[in-house]
């Protein structure tokens, strides 16, 4: 049989396309193994959107902020670390961001690229790279927003990973993370129920000891200081900024520095809910984390 479909790119051979579209079908099968991620995506995007609008209100006159604007990320450089099949990257690109998705798995990147090529709305401002985050440090490019969703619980050296993400940000840039806390509840829900009982998630996807508590992230950023770029200090001495989180109040960071928000799965409507700020027990399992790099003035 002759392929009746147009081959979009002459450099890719047809059997590879077939292979990737089959894999892609799994990443992008909304009822399959990744259905939880698909349902989680609107909540992550809601958090990113609300947080950016909130900071815009803090920094700009009220009338200058258009909270209903669709392309809220227009003109921003956004990096998605551990993009997987590109679930989050495509959404970021649709909101106008110059999006770069990177993943350590070559096949994930190919899947993400293939899927983005199907959608003319995203493929002009969305690029994917097969690269570990560390490799981007050697380049001079820095980002307004760095996202890394459901990745932290899979990396071997979380401290290194967090430092890398932090360093890839421009001053006053936003870091968004989502991960799972290390609590009996999270073990019960994400490993025992999801992997062993319901087998919704492949067995061995998660390792309990790699889970990170929100308090541990807060603690890390309470001591973490950005390195001053050497060009800022005339004498070439390496200065340091203030810590990213200056103080905690009742265990919570201040609103302008960082935020922890729980994500709760509602099995009745099969959807995720973004828990309100400070909701008791909401961040015991899946949670979102936002922290902001100090602006340049604070560094100096």
């Amino acid at each position: 049989m002759f392929p009746t479909r147009l081959l979009r790119s002459s450099t890719v051979n047809a059997s590879e396309i077939a292979h990737f579209s089959r894999l892609s079908a799994e990443w992008w099968n909304e009822r399959g193994e990744f259905s939880f991620l698909h349902k989680m995506n609107p909540v992550r995007m809601q958090f990113i959107r609300e947080k950016l609008i909130e900071t815009a209100y803090d920094e700009q006159p009220e009338e200058a902020v258009d909270a209903k604007k669709v392309r809220i990320l227009e003109g921003l450089d956004v990096l998605d670390v551990g993009c997987g099949g590109g679930l989050l990257s495509e959404s970021l690109a649709r909101l106008g961001a110059w999006t770069t998705g990177i993943d350590a798995s070559e096949s994930n990147v190919a899947i993400a690229q293939h899927h983005a090529s199907l959608d003319s709305r995203v493929n002009s401002n969305l690029t994917y790279k097969h690269a570990p985050a560390e490799s981007l440090l050697s380049q001079s490019k820095r980002y307004d927003v760095v996202c890394s969703m459901e990745v932290l619980e899979h990396v071997d050296n979380p401290v290194m990973f967090l430092k890398t993400c932090a360093e890839l940000l421009k001053p006053s840039g936003h870091l968004f993370l989502s991960t799972i806390s290390r609590t009996p509840l999270s073990y019960f829900l994400t490993i025992f129920m999801a992997e062993k009982v319901f087998r919704e998630v492949a067995d061995g996807t998660h390792t309990y000891s790699k889970y990170i508590k929100p308090s541990e992230l807060l603690e890390f950023f309470q001591s973490y200081r950005s390195q001053l770029p050497s060009s800022v200090n005339g004498d070439g001495a390496q200065g340091q900024s203030r810590p990213w989180i200056t103080r905690l109040y009742n265990g919570e960071p201040t609103r302008k520095e960082a935020e922890v928000r729980g994500m709760i799965y509602n099995p009745l409507s099969a959807s995720w809910i973004l828990a309100p700020r400070g909701a008791w027990g909401a961040a015991e399992c899946n949670y979102l984390f936002w922290v902001r790099k100090p602006i340049l003035d604070d560094i100096l």
Binding site: P42, L92, S124, N266, P276
Partner: protein, 583 residues
Amino acid sequence: MLLHANGSRLLFKVVRNPSTNGHRRLLSTVHEDYDVVIVGGGPAGLALASALGSKNEFQNTLKIALVEAGDLSVVRDWSPPADTFSNRVVSLTNASQAFLKGTGSWDHIELHRTSPVEEMQVWDGISDARISFSSSEMVSSTTDHLGMARLIETLNLQRGLLRHLNSSPAVQIIDKNKVQSITVDEAPGSWPLVHLNTGQALKTRLLVGADGPNSPVRSFAKIPSYGWSYDTQAIVCTLDHPPKGPFLGPNTTAYQRFLPTGPVAFLPISTTASSLVWSTKPALATALKACEPSVLARMINAAFRLPDVSMQYLHERILEAHEAGKHITDEEISAEILWREQSHLIDSTSAYSSIIPDASPNSRIPPSDAEMVPPLVKSIQPGTVASFPLRYNHTETYVGEGQGSRTVLVGDAAHTIHPLAGQGLNLGLGDVECLSRCISEAVLRGGDIGSYTALLPYTQERYLQNHTIMSACDKLHKIYTTSFGPLVQLRSVGLEVLNELDSIKVAIMMSAGSVSRTDRPLSYNSDARAAMFNIAAQGVENINTVAHVAKVLRGGFEGLAVNVIQNLAKAATHYQQSRKDAS
């Protein structure tokens, strides 16, 4: 930034034509990319287009097309004389009106061609058990008076929506174009391609089927549909009648009588005109339609007035004459009706009399039962008599999957319903309101509006709501048209019928709330407390509604049991009596 997002793309297809065996033909298909393609220019399709087009934030984000086979300029240029009305009149609940007001299309509707419904009179054809309810019973959160519903010609609504769409550059209307076929690439995630008979092809992220009961979009998406046809045809026409007298209220009361052949409804549209929806057996509908308009007018007056025995007799006369190929003359039918009225002892001054009083209505005091029946129909507006079959249909889901993914159904494409509670279009507008809300939410979160994830809340919210109202109406129809002995007996007792009539009230009041649902959040939109509260409240609401409907129906069956026991008791007493007499 998105340079070619809106640009068209030239695609050359190499197709191997099997008939020419090896000879290749080079076909070229020009197709344009859209975000939403709505198939169907009926009220639901137009309402969705205008709801999406009215959002400023979508002006440069969504590219929307509406495809309609017919010529929409007929609707756009529709300008009938002030006193003639189209035969298709629908009742819009306050929720539907609130939605249309929210999108801004309500401003484009000619309000003086519509009529509020302030009161409804519903009664049983056999027992005359009656229930009336008025807008004053409704709980309204606002202080302004809204009425129970508003009757409006479908064309007036469609034209208003089209006028509103003139101000929405984001929506492209492609009329006089039939959808020839819908295809999709085999690769997962591909977008459907809608081929029009003019050769144009539209590739779309989301395909909306607003294309009516025989939806081609539904067959493309292979969404199964479940239902049955009622052995019933609905006759519609526009009725002329004198204005109500000086001691009576305005013509804002809707009347519905449940005859064993089906309900007949009188829907006011102006002071001197009203619309008729008469559901009846197909053979009878054909015979009635074939009658002289004056004969039909007399039959309509009789259908709201004469006892069922006489109606059955008149129906037989009409059927016999039709089968014999003759037509009953106006004199014959009026003589029949007069004779029947006399034998039923209907006073000629009563509102139940078909005699139009000679004196002008202003000069006499109306009879005490004047509000019990609709005004006497004088004539039928020419060319307005039509009929259509009634069906119950509900698809298994509203969102397509697999090869049919990126497809969603709204309105009659997803569900058709018996018109006895006037809810069909309101369910459709409810769908449209919810779907447009879903699309907005997804767009603001950078979601793919054609994805299952983005469309899931739509099915979740609408399916049960639609199903509740649909099955209530279905059950009502069945209770009233059944020939099942105990139910007929039960119905004739009368008191129990009030319970059943009460569930019509439930069906109408359920969606008659005046609060717009447009601002209600989807479950993942708000914070958890609010969402949880909503879920809980909705659950309670649904349980309540279901319980109410169930209670009403069960009430009927309890009544049945009571009735049987009463009859037994009567029989026992009778037996004892006869034994006493014998001894």
